[in-house]
């Protein structure tokens, strides 16, 4: 463990964070909030620059340092991201500011603000910007644009990209990171153009495009996407779905392999559950309301895709839907999006592995001597991977239970506590009951906001990366005494 090397890389990340504040600083000029924004940017950028320049470059990064950099880096970045909310006085408290920042960078989209339209454009821009940076990953961004991270880049990359495997698009990790960010930027730009073509103002188009591709959920309106036309909502459905897909598949598709989506087993599971739950929700709503319509179908599909991709936009208050539809949505909150996407959750690929493995175990009851191979599509999944996935499942369930207990102890009712903890871990945003799409998180109180912030970070970094920071072994010097 080399603390100086870790400090240096975190310095780089802070400088990048400060650079991302530039658009908000510009927007703050007419609002009269320049002092607060400039202060935050200069403080973050200055501290980062000092850490970057003052520490000597020693060498590569080993696996342990890689994990520590990602864990500590994220903590540093979300704290830095909360400073503008504090300095400009937009947030009601320090905890609320931190919550909003964590919610942004983890692409959760849960907010403490009741009326979004009251926020100054600089703050709106910063919320969307934090989504966008956190979506593809600030570390991946660092690897992509700063080759100075060196050979250890692969360690960092793997620690930040969600899912069970981090596919390489190119033999070199820097190239892979650049290609992924390239695809991300391209799709974001495409969506901005589409939004503007269908009537959004440039400011709202940019904000929503960043939020959508990051599977974030922050909007510039209190009514979220419900404030826009059906055409815009359908476009958003498609892009939310796409943002929940492994970005390496997008790259393959954009480079001419038109069937890249369909050939992927995880993607077929993702599509099947999206279509299945959408239709089930539509049917439940139809039965409840007594008649079906295209509008009803749109609401069903939009909110299901929003939850499945872990975006968190809403066009309807699904906390008021028939309870069967709500339960299905809870299930999707747990599963989340595909590995390698910008979405969160347990991940479709892990759910598929658990399902297939369980099917194999049932087979073994019938045929005790059977050699059962867990398969994803046609590929066999190695048993170490299956075990890893099962351990991850245990971790997910345990963390969710702890989170639910903590929130309940702090005064939430059962459904609110359960759904809020899940929505935070899976980086969704809105939950059910007291934290449904029509409500917000502001009323939960500061201690609950801190608990939820921790859950969001844990979920985004898939536990291990953050939890290892608490293992004493991590902080020991490698190679014994020096």
């Amino acid at each position: 463990m080399n603390p100086l090397e870790v400090l240096r890389v975190i310095g780089v990340l802070l400088v990048a964070t400060a650079a991302a504040m530039v658009p908000s600083v510009a927007l703050a000029v007419p609002e009269g909030l320049l002092a607060g924004w400039l202060g935050a940017a200069v403080l973050v950028g200055g501290a980062g620059a000092v850490a970057w320049i003052a520490t000597p470059r020693i060498g590569g990064i080993n696996a342990r340092e890689g994990v520590v950099i990602v864990g500590l880096g994220w903590v540093a970045v979300v704290i830095a991201g909360s400073l503008p909310f504090i300095f400009t006085g937009v947030a009601p408290s320090v905890s609320a500011a931190l919550f909003e920042s964590v919610s942004g960078f983890t692409t959760t989209g849960a907010t403490v603000f009741a009326v979004i339209e009251d926020l100054p454009p600089s703050a709106l821009m910063w919320r969307s910007m934090s989504h966008w940076i956190g979506g593809m990953g600030i570390i991946v961004l660092g690897v992509a644009i700063l080759p100075l991270l060196g050979v250890g880049g692969a360690q960092l990359f793997r620690a930040e990209v969600p899912g069970i495997t981090a596919d390489r698009l190119a033999p070199r990790i820097v190239t892979t990171a650049r290609l992924l960010w390239g695809v991300y930027v391209f799709l974001t730009g495409l969506l901005v153009v589409l939004y503007m073509a269908f009537g959004m103002s440039p400011f709202e188009a940019i904000n929503h495009a960043m939020s959508t591709l990051a599977t974030g959920g922050f909007s510039t309106r209190t009514a979220s996407l419900g404030a826009f036309s059906p055409a815009i909502q359908w476009i958003t459905v498609f892009f939310m779905f796409a943002a929940g897909v492994n970005f390496t598949l997008h790259y393959r598709m954009l480079t001419g392999r038109w069937n890249a989506w369909f050939r992927d087993a995880e993607w077929r599971w993702y599509l099947a559950s999206t279509v299945g739950v959408s239709l089930a929700a539509f049917a439940a709503l139809w039965v409840e309301q007594g008649n079906g319509s295209l509008d009803l179908l749109r609401h069903a599909v939009f909110n299901v895709v929003s939850i499945h991709s872990t975006t968190g936009f809403a066009t309807a208050d699904f906390a008021l839907w028939p309870s069967v539809a709500q339960v299905l949505l809870l299930g999707l909150m747990f599963v989340g999006a595909m590995g390698g996407s910008t979405g969160g959750g347990f991940k479709v690929v892990r759910a598929a592995v658990v399902t297939e493995h369980t099917r194999g175990e049932i087979m073994k009851v019938l045929h005790p001597r059977a050699i059962v191979v867990t398969r994803l599509g046609r590929t066999a999944v190695r048993s170490e991977v299956v075990l890893n996935v099962l351990a991850f499942l245990g971790m997910y369930v345990a963390t969710h239970a702890a989170g639910t207990i903590a929130l309940a102890a702090l005064g939430s009712d059962l459904v609110t506590a359960m759904s809020a903890a899940l929505a935070a871990m899976s980086s969704i945003g809105p939950g059910l009951a007291g934290v449904g799409p029509a409500a917000n998180y502001g009323h939960l109180g500061d201690p609950a906001l801190l608990v939820l912030s921790a859950l969001m970070l844990l979920g985004r970094l898939e536990f291990y990366t953050l939890l290892v920071l608490f293992l004493p072994g991590v902080w020991m010097r490698a190679g014994g005494r020096r």
Binding site: R369, I371, V372, A380
Partner: protein, 448 residues
């Protein structure tokens, strides 16, 4: 013709035996001197110690005069390199034995025409194909297909109560024993004869019937069997043959269970075979076989590397009630034993490989050849050329060699099952059943 065979294993030995008996000059090359000693003392062939993949060794074996180079060691890569080491020239056919399924995958670089290889043979796959054909006509002990399946030779046991039993062949004649079906040989107490109209068939005889495809259910019916298609199959053993067999069964949508003794191998097969249920266990473990419902299987195929294990496992399966049992037997001495024990059919990798090879060796008028398990009799498909003394004369008068019979004539798209009055025409394919001693005279009667 000079033939160089690289590899004195089971396949090389058996092919050398066949070719030497047909008056070819055979040189066997192998790295193991003790193996060569054995070959030299049993066969009329020359032996040469050395690495067959080395050009100098091939030169010493007489490559420049050779018409055929067979690389049939058990290592695919050695066989390929051997073919590469021999310069291609007109008049030399180079054959490599390649068994690894990976080399047959899509887009594989190993193709006839590459690596200096003219022909690839795969004994394990040939065996799987043979077992699969047996499976498709449940009651048969042998199945050989000709003319793309339009004509088949079936080996069948005459069952109790069969319509054909205890009757002279002539009485089965026109009505019952129609023109599309001919009994070409009868095997009784280890002796094979070619029957005449006055021959009588008994229960327990093993008869060889040549039939047009449409008549196959009738052939089964006459010998007291019902035509059933297998649906559930159990394979025993984790050999390469098991892999190919399971792959074939999967492709045809049959339910397949494979019992594999080695755990690592079981895992490997389970990963490669998506729709096959692979179990890890002892193939002679009666409890396991019964638990997995061996009695309800339409077929049980024993494919381990050990004859004894295969025979025991097959007996267990037969006793438990498996409808058809196919046993892989390497040692030819065991083949009659397997029959006496009541096992339905035996397949031999050696014979499968030899059949596949000989099919190409006997070029000229011979299009296809199959060797029968029990008696080394051969079934040949021969093209009738103008030079043949058989052309234009009724078969009864043409002086057809003793110990051989024309079972079917493929004429264009139609199949004729001949009587003594039928004559061969130029361009016909004659499907001839020949006892071992008659193979030579038959091939001479059909010159190119």
């Amino acid at each position: 013709m000079r033939v160089i065979i690289v590899g004195a294993g089971e396949v090389g030995y058996h092919v050398a035996d066949r070719l030497a008996k047909e008056q070819h000059d055979v040189v066997i090359v192998d790295v193991a001197p003790e193996r060569l000693d054995y070959v030299e003392s049993h066969l009329d062939v020359a032996v040469l110690e050395g690495n067959g993949a080395s050009p100098s060794v091939l030169a010493r074996a007489g490559l420049k005069d050779a018409g055929l180079l067979l690389a049939v060691t058990s290592v695919d890569e050695v066989n390929l390199v051997t073919c590469m080491s021999a310069p291609s020239r007109a008049g030399l056919v180079k054959v490599a034995r390649v068994s690894n399924p990976d080399f047959y995958a899509e887009r594989s670089a190993v193709q006839p025409g590459t690596f200096g290889v003219d022909l690839l043979i795969n004994p394990e796959r040939e065996l799987a194909l043979e077992a699969f054909r047996l499976l498709q006509s449940t009651a048969a002990s042998d199945v050989v297909v000709f003319a793309g399946g339009a004509v088949q030779l079936l080996g069948l046991w005459v069952a109790e109560g069969a319509p054909i039993a205890n009757r002279k062949l002539s009485t089965i004649g026109a009505g019952e024993h129609g023109r599309q079906l001919l009994t070409v040989a009868v095997e009784r107490e280890g002796e094979t004869i070619i029957p005449s109209g006055s021959s009588e068939i008994h229960v327990g005889d093993h008869v060889y019937v040549i039939a047009a495809a449409a008549e196959i259910p009738r052939a089964l019916e006459l010998t007291g069997h019902r035509h059933e298609k297998a649906q559930r199959v159990m394979l025993a053993g984790g050999s390469v043959e098991t892999f190919y067999m399971a792959q074939l069964l999967q492709q045809h949508g049959l339910d397949t269970i494979a019992i594999v003794e080695d755990r690592e191998r079981a895992l490997e097969l389970a990963e490669k075979l998506e729709r096959t249920l692979v179990l890890n266990g002892n193939v002679t473990d009666i409890e396991l076989l019964e638990l997995e419902g061996v009695g309800g299987m339409d077929a049980f195929v024993a494919l381990t590397d050990y004859d004894e294990t295969n025979i025991i496992a097959s007996l267990v399966a037969k006793h438990a009630g498996a409808k058809q049992v196919i046993t892989l037997v390497n040692k030819s001495d065991y083949v009659p034993l397997a029959r006496r024990l009541g096992l339905d059919a035996a397949v031999s990798p050696r014979l499968s490989a030899a059949s596949a090879l000989l099919r190409y060796v006997r070029r000229g008028s011979v299009q296809r050849v199959a060797t029968l398990q029990a008696n080394d009799a051969e079934v040949l498909s021969l093209v009738v050329t103008p030079g043949s003394p058989m052309v234009g004369r009724p078969l009864a008068e043409a002086g057809f060699p003793d110990g051989a019979i024309v079972g079917a004539i493929v004429r264009g798209n139609s199949v004729v099952v001949p009587t003594g009055r039928d004559a061969l025409r130029v361009g016909d394919s004659a499907i001839v059943f020949a006892l071992p001693d008659a193979v030579g005279p038959v091939t001479r009667a059909f010159p190119t």
